[in-house]
């Protein structure tokens, strides 16, 4: 077989895996946006079957044979050639899944179902004890899972590798230590400032107006509605079914305008990444997370979050954006915003207000919520924190970092869905997104001095084009730190992020 033929044979197998995983994503999107309530149970079976078939197809002897031939065919290609990366990543994924016994997958799936139900009940009653035994079992199965994946320094390393390859408990500890000492003085300064006016954010904003502005906003940032759509869900998200069909959702809080405004900007950032992947990578390994069994073009959860945070915080949550666009928002809501200036609006949407809930946190306190969770996940995984002591550990950190007393478990340890779904190890990617977004933005501003003027003028296509050519188009070809080294000359580095926050909140 020629090199081309062997790669084509492998590609055909991977295309099928990608098709099935994209189908599973369609079913997930539908279940959150369109599905009638009655469909839940059988939909769960359908998604589970698709995920299993994707794994089976990846582990089938035909894939193995095609992969072996392809491995011999790519030895003379450059180390970072797309074909070589395809083969390498496919091999990595095949070896990964071979190490996970089917029984463990079934056990984790079965636990997920009951654990989620228990978490919902526990949260509604604000009683951690209802959930604790399920979490204990989740930790047990996660340790078994980590042992299958393999790790040398810390079991958490194996879990993080699923979401953010390259990061470890140790690397995160170093990153967080630098972040914490940089963030605390900024937070101190910000908290000492007088609170800005924000009453107008809580006025009555009918959904139609919010949606109309949100659609324009997404389009303004470069989102292509010929290959996407915006729907309404309780928990906003972005999901793609190849770059040709990338959907985002938002939620409309009638009495709090920023929820849909910045939520839409955030999901648009995710959507731009997916829509910008090289068309040549469609249905290939470079647009498929074969380890996580998820059809996605972004190279890591953190890299993905970097794009959503960049557009949400660096562009839309900026003084310049509202100086330019606030009059348009006022046109949509003349009664609600008639007595407000652009500067007042900007100050209101950048006010700093430590709180209990991660998803409502401002830019300055958000990372403290993440660091807390990652510390706890590490301690759960290495056994240094018994599950029963979790609420006290949680509340102590919130008091130390944010000077707040957690009133109950629903406002504390029970607030996030993640652990109930078996996800341990994904929290760090939110903070990595913040750090990487600022690092990319900083490098772009240095390398392209004309960019600031374009952004100031409300022309975001120049920025989108830079990000497309530097990040989005590469899909999963380069690892996150490879991308950062190519474009910023450094691996992940919190200095630009801290400088950005200092400039925005403490100068």
């Amino acid at each position: 077989m020629t090199q081309q033929a062997s790669l084509a044979a492998l590609q055909e197998r991977i295309a099928a895996v990608n098709d099935v995983l994209n189908a599973a994503s369609v079913l997930t999107w539908d279940s959150r946006t369109m599905m009638p309530a009655g469909g839940a149970e059988t939909r769960g079976h359908q998604i589970a079957t698709l995920t299993r078939l994707a794994r089976d197809t990846l582990l089938a002897p035909e894939t193995e044979r095609a992969l072996e031939v392809a491995e011999r065919a790519i030895t003379d290609l450059a180390e970072d050639a797309a074909e070589r990366r395809i083969v390498k990543q496919t091999r990595h994924a095949v070896d990964h899944h071979k190490r996970i016994p089917a029984l463990l997958i079934q056990e984790r799936a079965a636990l997920r179902t009951v654990a989620q139900a228990a978490w919902i009940e526990a949260r509604s009653k604000s009683d951690f004890s209802i959930f604790s035994s399920y979490l204990a079992r989740t930790v047990e199965l996660s340790r078994a899972y980590a042992d299958c994946i393999g790790w040398s320094e810390h079991p958490y390393d194996a879990m993080v590798s699923i979401y953010e390859p390259g990061e470890t408990a140790a690397s995160l500890k170093a990153l967080f230590s630098e972040l914490r000492s940089g963030l605390l003085p900024i937070l101190d300064i910000a908290r000492s400032r007088p609170e800005p006016r924000s009453d107008f954010l809580f006025r009555d904003y009918p959904e139609e107006g919010q949606r109309a502005f949100g659609l324009k906003l997404a389009e303004k940032l470069g989102y292509d509605f010929q290959r996407g759509r915006l729907d309404t869900t309780v928990h906003p998200f972005e999901v793609s079914f190849t770059r040709n069909d990338v959907r985002i959702t938002t939620r409309y809080n009638r009495n709090y305008l920023p929820a849909s405004l910045f939520g839409t900007a955030h999901e648009t950032g995710h959507g731009l990444y997916e829509q910008g992947v090289d068309p040549a990578y469609t249905r290939t390994t470079l647009a498929t997370d074969l380890v996580g069994l998820y059809a996605v073009g972004g190279t890591s959860f953190g890299a993905h979050e970097s794009q959503s945070r960049l557009w949400e915080n660096h562009i839309v949550r900026s003084r310049g954006f509202w100086e330019r666009h606030f009059p348009e928002l006022q046109k949509h809501f003349p009664d609600q915003l008639g007595d407000v200036s652009a500067e007042e609006f900007y100050r209101a949407v950048t006010r700093v207000e430590p709180g209990f809930i991660r998803v409502e946190a401002d830019e300055l306190t958000y990372d403290f919520h993440i660091m807390l969770r990652v510390d706890i996940e590490c301690a759960l995984m290495d056994g240094s924190l018994p599950v029963g002591e979790l609420p006290e550990a949680w509340n102590a950190v919130i008091r130390r970092d944010l000077d707040l007393v957690v009133p109950d478990d629903a406002h504390g340890v029970l607030q996030d869905v993640h652990w109930s779904t078996g996800y341990i190890g994904s929290f760090p990617t939110y903070t990595i997104g913040n750090v990487m977004g600022a690092q990319m933005m900083d490098a772009l501003r240095m390398q392209k001095p004309s960019l600031d003027a374009a952004i100031e003028a409300g022309e975001y296509s120049a920025l989108a084009e830079e990000l497309r050519s530097r990040i989005w188009q590469h899909g999963r070809r380069f690892m996150r730190d490879e991308l950062l080294e190519r474009e910023t000359g450094r691996r992940l580095d919190p200095a630009p992020y801290l400088a950005y926050l200092r400039g925005k909140y403490a100068l």
Copy 2:
């Protein structure tokens, strides 16, 4: 292995096939209702991969092994026991698919793509010659396909067996001969009558009002929106993803009210069938068309159509329905229907008006369109009609039966999508639906004299309950004629249908 264990092993395999086919249906529904234009190409790949994987799963050695054990385990069960039917139908499907070479499936799929494009162009230019070579190739591949499936009397028998098991070219010829001689005198009488007033049907009916009434109508007929939803598409359809999620669509013609009115009633009828299948059959062979590779609970295309026609024509297109519900319709459209009586409305929606287009045909002329197509399909399959002579043959029959001169191919031989998608053999099921619907309704009226009073009173739950217990709940357990014999004492019989039409249109 015990009987139970062997059936459970088979059931697990079939459940996966059903899950994948339901997933394909979700993707199809989404592509027609929600998908942005850009998604079409990769969506095609995704659906094709799912269908292939469903077939592969059905033909996998694991399924064969489970099936063989199950076949030995069910020999002491009654012939019509659900378990025995499951095994028998699964065996039939496995043997069917084994006879179709993968190459032929690929050729048909490849042809479908180009043939549909050619048909779209041909129809827009009203030029059959653009499409004829593709149709000729479709007939060739259909003959090869029929030979694989196997037939003894006529190659058309193999094609019909996919959609309406039990019917053959000969049985259809006999049925149509009886129908034709019964229909012609009824049509003669109806055409001799003065044309009723119908101007008000073409007034301006905003979509919101049509949709509001349509939702109430579907609910009134018994459609469960907890397990369904109503959306808008160019071509209305019904599709189910198990009985727990059964969706219908309609279209709103702003200047012709009956389109959405009777379209919604029709799709509701299909939806009721799927929602009414026994929950115990969910994800089993008895809710999966394993031959057609389509997740559906109805036992044949004709049986399905019988339920949609029954609700559309026997219930909603009846004098009693509008005597009772016309005031509600008037409330939705006071300006448009203020000068119209219930009787005038009924007469307008039952006016007889021979035309060129099948999907716009009235109850009396509809079957002539079907008989024309089935005659042509038979003649194409046995080679007695060369493709090149098709337009002339078509136009001659329309002149003979309906006394109309076809102006161009778009209003004649090019009007239907079916042949361009490779579907040959599905047209008879529309007329079978008409016949079976009337036969069931007739038997029910005889066996349940109280039914008419309930229907007259606008209480349709009694009828729905009868149909549920006699037809819907059985899913695919019984063949169409078995159901008819159980419930009416006869196999398919056009007499009640002709009597119904005579009573409605010629008395």
